[in-house]
Symmetry: C2
Subunit: 770 residues, 2 copies
Amino acid sequence: MTATETRVVGKRLPKLDAPDKVSGRIQYADDLDIPGMLTGAILRSPHAHARIVSIDVSKAEALPGVKAVIHAGNVQQRPFGYGHDNLPLKDRKVRCVGDEVAAVAAIDEATAKRALGLIDVVYEVLPAVVDPLEALEDGAPLIHDERLDIDGNVSMRWDFETGDVDKAAEEAAVIVEGTYSSPLAAPGAIETHVVIASFDRSGHLTVWSPVHMVFMYRKELADTLGLDWGNITIKQPPVGGSFGGKIDIDTHDFICVLLAEAAQRPVKLAMSREEEFIGTRTRQPIHFKLRTGADADGNILFRDTHVISDNGAYNAWGSHAMLVAMNTVTSLYRVPNSRMRCAVVYTNKSYGGSVRGFGNPQSTFAVEQQLEEIADALGRDPMELRIQNANQAGDVTPQGLKITTCGLTQCLESVKEASGWNERRGKMKDRYRGLGAAAFIHVGGGARIYGSDGCGAMIKMDDSGQISLISGSSELGQGSETALAMIVAEEVGVPMSKVRVIHSDTDVKPWDVGVHASRTTFVAGNAARLAAGRARDKLLAAAAEVLGKDDLVIEDGVISSRSEPERAMPYDKAIRRLLLREEGNVIMSTAFYDPPTENQDKGYIGNISATYGFGAHVAEVEVDPGTGQVKLLNLWTAHDVGRAINPSAVEGQIEGGAVMGIGLALTEELPVRVEVGELMAPNLHDYGLPTMVDAPRIHVDLIETNDPLGPFGAKGIGEGGLIPVPAAVANAVADAVGIRPRQFPLRPWKVLDWIQTGETSNVVKGAGRG
Amino acid sequence: MTATETRVVGKRLPKLDAPDKVSGRIQYADDLDIPGMLTGAILRSPHAHARIVSIDVSKAEALPGVKAVIHAGNVQQRPFGYGHDNLPLKDRKVRCVGDEVAAVAAIDEATAKRALGLIDVVYEVLPAVVDPLEALEDGAPLIHDERLDIDGNVSMRWDFETGDVDKAAEEAAVIVEGTYSSPLAAPGAIETHVVIASFDRSGHLTVWSPVHMVFMYRKELADTLGLDWGNITIKQPPVGGSFGGKIDIDTHDFICVLLAEAAQRPVKLAMSREEEFIGTRTRQPIHFKLRTGADADGNILFRDTHVISDNGAYNAWGSHAMLVAMNTVTSLYRVPNSRMRCAVVYTNKSYGGSVRGFGNPQSTFAVEQQLEEIADALGRDPMELRIQNANQAGDVTPQGLKITTCGLTQCLESVKEASGWNERRGKMKDRYRGLGAAAFIHVGGGARIYGSDGCGAMIKMDDSGQISLISGSSELGQGSETALAMIVAEEVGVPMSKVRVIHSDTDVKPWDVGVHASRTTFVAGNAARLAAGRARDKLLAAAAEVLGKDDLVIEDGVISSRSEPERAMPYDKAIRRLLLREEGNVIMSTAFYDPPTENQDKGYIGNISATYGFGAHVAEVEVDPGTGQVKLLNLWTAHDVGRAINPSAVEGQIEGGAVMGIGLALTEELPVRVEVGELMAPNLHDYGLPTMVDAPRIHVDLIETNDPLGPFGAKGIGEGGLIPVPAAVANAVADAVGIRPRQFPLRPWKVLDWIQTGETSNVVKGAGRG
């Protein structure tokens, strides 16, 4: 397939917001100052599980400078979250350390903090359960005893089966089985959560929040607080990183609005770093018990998995990570039979959100280690086995995913070649070095998780030739503003500098489901392209009147006739010729793009995304056998990006994702004190966020498959970079020192322990056939 | 004609921005704080006319805290204004007191002011000419000696003639001749001019300015400073009053941008009250020498006028006030022959802008006094004479104005009746009381003064049912936001609370020529109505799919079938049904409305506006013969408003206009020290701005003529309220004490002088025929 010839798309361009970001000129939410604004602060539970006996706020209310003190007893609130299991301010019980019990708004932070100290809460401490397996035991403390609709602490089940797994297991020549676990981790954005709420004197609420999914956020805000959602404006200041942490509404968002309502003043609520770790959403631990079977020729026959998602105290987005984890189990490589039995379990600790990758790094960690184990058992090269089983364009997976384009084979070939796989894998054990590979599948054309997966776009051109795209999308630092501007510039036929992207105010922008599932370039990009095409057609019609030709093209801002190229005019002049006359007009257009996808049925069957992204990584590690320290030397990556709108930005996304994956693989976790359920070290010093110096050389190869539905062929690529990294690193460690990692991150003491205990093969049937 | 039946239009509703304005919550430009912002200050000429010999800024630059010092020698600037006669920072000469010579940006106001004091400017003072008649004399100092394209100090001529005035004069039974003068006055907004300029690190300029005509402003900014106009965003904070004072660009706007460029920091430039009077645009003095003739039956035969517009040092909008003054001379009442010879003259003083009414109060002062003088000469009642000569629907005036609807007769009848005219006029001289009337014509359907008189509108609906109108228009306090929201609510068929109006950012809003000529309700209203109608049609189509009926109507937000009213659904549900499904859509629409008007030809013939507003006032005064003090006891007003979208707001506009007219009539002027050309008292204490206690009872009668082109029949009414007031008051003074005011304001000492010198009749032919 050859790419459409383009003049802007495909260029390496700097991000539009980069100059102001790197120079510190940009104003994040915490830089905003609304006249009369108060500072909010939240009183949080020190207990993982306790009954609230009483709350006395009288001393706090009496403190000069305090303008509002709120708690469940003096506000109107309704339950929110999946299963309606959460309240902004807890009423009867607290269920994790950090649970919100009361809040104050005061003239400054010191006063607000002092007021928190004056609130008397009497708790009756209850037995807590922090381990999900213990939570499943009979007689375990019931965390949501008020929920009569669930079984014990199991808040949700995800069960899926296609084909006949048991029959496939009988037929399998090789079966590998094992457990694979991931830790409690954090999105780790540098900007903590900050929200500002302000009611005007007509009762209209404006909220400034760096949230991704503004329209859903607005609805949840209104539903939970009994407000009129049509009377709320959400403004999105520039976002200082999110990685899913700011995807939707959090408890403090409701509290900020409640404080603003109680104080009748604007209120800012900014999370401290500690609160960011304790009080906002995490990547929940997931425990996979996976079996994979293959025939003697190396064809994968089945996957069978039991999953426990340790989702914490409440059901936020994290409860739905199985949706994505499942795609990998059923559809990474051709897997005719698959089964998944999953329990999402309540525990008395931080609860899961939608962190970048959303269940997929965990799932891929299990699936891709077993792929190499199967190969080892068969005596096959795992890269060859991957290529043999790779998805291909035209496939429809048993879960119903329609693979329209697929660069997986090319990606595997690319990293195999680049890493010197054939020459080096399994041949560096003497130096404790190894190579490990992993591939991934991820939604690349939106993900239909709501009634609509669409995004609106409006375009207007003015007399200067400036073209404004008003997009429903949101810029989180992922570079969507730049990508969308390029798409519009390309589609209209003007230089990039002529396009401005407006996308941060719900009053102004058309509806969009929000940023998630790597969908912005694909969905918002298609909407922008449609609107741009309509605007361009109007522009050419206007020019046709002047030039007297109807075979017009526009390139680099010049409109000319194909047959008589000397008949030409600048596009902005065409705008003015249309506008500045009697019965004039100005060029505007609108478009809405909802990808042609399906809501999955009750059995989780359905084509959730309009296209799928694929990629493969090879990690090279060196393990210190004395300390267990894993050093990542190289990471070769190849991604099917459909088409790179802006190769530099795509590489940046992949590299950034890879670094996040390296954190997941090697260092990032939030240990919890088991007895009391509190985080041991909620700070950036101890949390293992990788920095520039922790990154090895990351090699990026962009495979362009020109997706027929993608804007100029593009697929979404926002998450792929991190997904295979823990698996690839684990496989590399296996290659280097012959042990099989059961969990990530691969902290030295664990690796050392595995080396010392000889934790190796998971093969339960057909070991050593090769 | 009967009005369309409406549910929102025609209701008395509070202005949407009122709660935040009256509670002080709103943020005007001066309340904005941009991080890193500097304070700017301008060094102004103390001389009315002088050569700039040298400027030394070295001491100012050396002052700690000073970040930029600019003057003509160190900036890039091009001439601006009509005739390109002005520069942001003067280079060779200053031509009025207050002329901008240099400017600084510093960390605070005190430092900026101190720095101004350190700038050494050496002037060579030149003879100044402040009186326009002296400026016309041979040998008068040449103010713009660099302009070789003009004749002496005459910057512009406006000559117009239709019919045969000289022949009509021969045929006339009565001719009245006289001179009528108006003073230098100020728009007098409570908010002074404030501008903020900030370049981002990519070089994109954002300007916050309470200007009316944002797109023109942006172009002028770019043209004058050599910037890319497509790379400039203008944001309009809420405006604290303008009355034309903020219509377009002023010198300080350029200077603020130049300072921001030089300092590479955001800069705010806020005019002090004194600077507001000295350094921003005024209502220029205009001197009419008018002759009016009528036949013995009282039919007006001709008007002949020589006008000198004392336009000050440079040609801003004020130079074009003749455009409006001329409409009144040619087209108020049926006037078959008319002539106008006008010279716009440079003088060494403050120069004219486009203040509310824009030449019309001055013109009406002359025309409507002569109408009563003609009536007196004929022994006719002036109200009857007006009714006899009144314009009627269907008329095309000799200047080409097409009178589509006309409530003038009704207005005259209304104020005649309400004021007890027949019983009281001419019958209260014993108590020194009198009644005087005046009518007006003014553009009411836009005014085509540029290539386009159009306005764009975009509408989007979201899942909550919120409807956003993104309008090209601007809210200056005139209430357009509320009127536009009502128009959209009416046209879609939803409650007013569902509509939000967005109109303050050039990146977001579609093109509009800007606020002037009472055009917003008419032009922006029509654009909004068109867009709303298109959106409603999409909404009904969406509902038709659900309800299975195609005879749907929407009322109060409920969509139902005409034939089966029980088939119904809330409109917001229809939005969601359309959106939240596979292949969904969201409702958006766009529209551009450019009224069907003509650019006037070189002879000033052409239908400049799509409709015309009319009105009549009767003033009742009591004159103190010992002091000359004129007390206004009552003001009866009747206005042809087409249709009152919001009667309370229309009345408020008329009352506010009337109070402004009262200031013009009685107190407002800026005396100039003749020798040196400086304002005697540039402060609100001495400037005669009327306050609540100066307002008499103002009676408002709204005459609805349901203009066929107006949105729901509305005409523009923003300026009418003030136009006839000086004339009506002068006529009332004539009725009370028998003298004929030659100029306004009618300050006591002038009235006393006229009473003492017996300044009375202007009748030059046919006196006392009645």
